[in-house]
């Protein structure tokens, strides 16, 4: 699908795409909708356009936004042992480390599970909504998208959801543990985060930010 660039041929740089993982150079050829352009050397996905991807990502982002807010404040687990009851929300869990020097850890935890995913959702909406509506890109949209991409490894909502499952197993024989509404919200969140990643073609976003009228 995509040709290996010929060193003797003087192609202009805009017709080239370079694999960010292994630095291999290819002649740019945008694949059909639903197809993928994959680096032949390291198998990284370079371009993967999907039909109506922008609209789907916006829908998923909006859903994620409300789920994070809901999941933050509703109780997500409750415990009952010999008449003693306790129920906690994600905010409570994050601030479990709030004594002394562990306060730093509390802030980091709250950031990783709530604020980073929230910031990424807002940035994604800010960048994609004008593109999908065929409007000129929002101001500093490129900086926003770059920042959102840099934050990607630090968004850990789905890891927290799995942490819930592990914690459940650990105390299941100590006490009766029940799920609150936020637990199911976090479950949904994991599915949405994975879905958003599979629709997002980063190259297409950069391309439409660069040439707003062609897309």
């Amino acid at each position: 699908m995509k040709d290996i660039a010929d060193p003797d041929l003087d192609v202009s740089l805009t017709e080239l795409i370079v694999c960010p993982h292994c630095d291999a150079v290819y002649r740019l050829k945008v694949p059909e909708m639903g197809e993928k352009a994959i680096c032949q050397r390291c198998n990284a996905v370079l371009i993967a356009p999907r039909r109506k991807a922008g609209l789907k990502i916006i829908a998923i982002s909006l859903a994620t936004f409300f789920l994070i807010l809901g999941a933050a404040f509703f109780p997500f687990l409750n415990i009952d042992a010999a008449g003693n009851k306790n129920s906690v929300s994600v905010i409570d869990a994050a601030f479990a480390f709030s004594s002394g020097p562990l306060l730093l850890l509390a802030l980091a935890t709250a950031g990783l599970i709530l604020f980073v995913p929230l910031i990424r959702v807002v940035l994604t909406l800010y960048v994609l909504v004008p593109i999908v509506l065929d409007l000129p890109p929002a101001r500093h949209a490129m900086d926003a998208f770059r920042f959102s991409e840099a934050l990607r490894p630090w968004s850990m909502a789905e890891i927290f959801a799995l942490g819930c499952a592990v914690a459940l197993v650990k105390i299941a024989d100590l006490a009766t543990v029940g799920f609150g509404p936020a637990f199911w919200m976090f479950g949904g969140l994991v599915v949405l985060v994975v879905g958003q990643d599979s629709f997002m073609c980063r190259w297409s976003v950069w391309n439409s930010l660069e040439h707003p009228n062609k897309s």
């Binding site: 370079v18 960010p20 042992a81 480390f97 730093l104 850890l105 935890t109 490129m142 890891i159 942490g163």
Partner: protein
């Protein structure tokens, strides 16, 4: 994706006198400092990156030691109070007969972090040495390390969930120990170390090997 010709060879941007943006894949002439499309800083090969890799690696290892020697959880029940380290907690679970969970804890909190330290060190050494193993397996190794790195935070989240949930007045309470902070720092530093590594250097040796001259 198939090769269009058999004799054609994949060229790296560096050999073509091009510098590429690792954030948005756009190509620019060699020597361009920042990508004009997305504003990301560009270097053809980040040779200083190995120093950053090792600096974060050492910080991560330094934090990993107290993470294992200090208690991770302080459990107070009606009559006793106990402090357990990561390994101690797993041994205790095994003594109660929960071998499965003990094994998972040992795997996730001891084996995987140690394997991560080893893998990053191996990759950083391998780009310097001449006798390098298959590039493909090294690339996969790098991707696995980058992917798994974040998942080590799960331990910290479990401690956070347990210590906020199990607060049952006098009956039982669980509180985080100092090891939790060191463990979190260790995970963050190893993530930074893996991110600092310039994976394009893995493939440079191969390009040299294939060169007939």
């Amino acid at each position: 994706m198939e090769f269009s010709g058999t004799s054609q060879q994949i060229l790296s941007a560096r050999e073509m006198g091009i510098v590429a943006c690792t954030r948005c894949t756009k190509a620019w002439p060699m020597g361009t400092q920042t990508c004009a499309r997305c504003g990301h800083k560009m270097v053809s090969r980040d040779f200083g990156s190995l120093q950053r890799v090792w600096a974060f690696w050492i910080m991560g290892l330094m934090c990993y030691v107290p993470a294992n020697t200090y208690p991770m959880l302080q459990t107070r029940t009606l009559f006793q109070s106990d402090e357990s380290t990561i390994v101690g907690g797993a041994v205790e679970l095994a003594q109660h007969g929960a071998f499965g969970i003990a094994f998972i804890i040992l795997l996730a909190s001891v084996a995987i972090p140690l394997a991560k330290f080893w893998a990053i060190a191996f990759l950083a050494v391998s780009v310097k040495s001449r006798r390098a193993t298959a590039n493909h397996s090294r690339q996969i190794m790098y991707e696995v390390v980058e992917y798994i790195g974040r998942w080590s935070m799960i331990d910290i989240f479990v401690v956070a969930i347990l210590s906020s949930l199990v607060q049952l007045n006098t009956l039982a309470s669980i509180n985080p120990g100092p090891a939790s902070m060191f463990f979190a720092l260790s995970v963050i530093f190893t993530m930074l170390s893996a991110q600092a590594f310039d994976s394009r250097m893995i493939w440079d040796e191969q390009a040299k090997d294939e060169d007939p001259s």
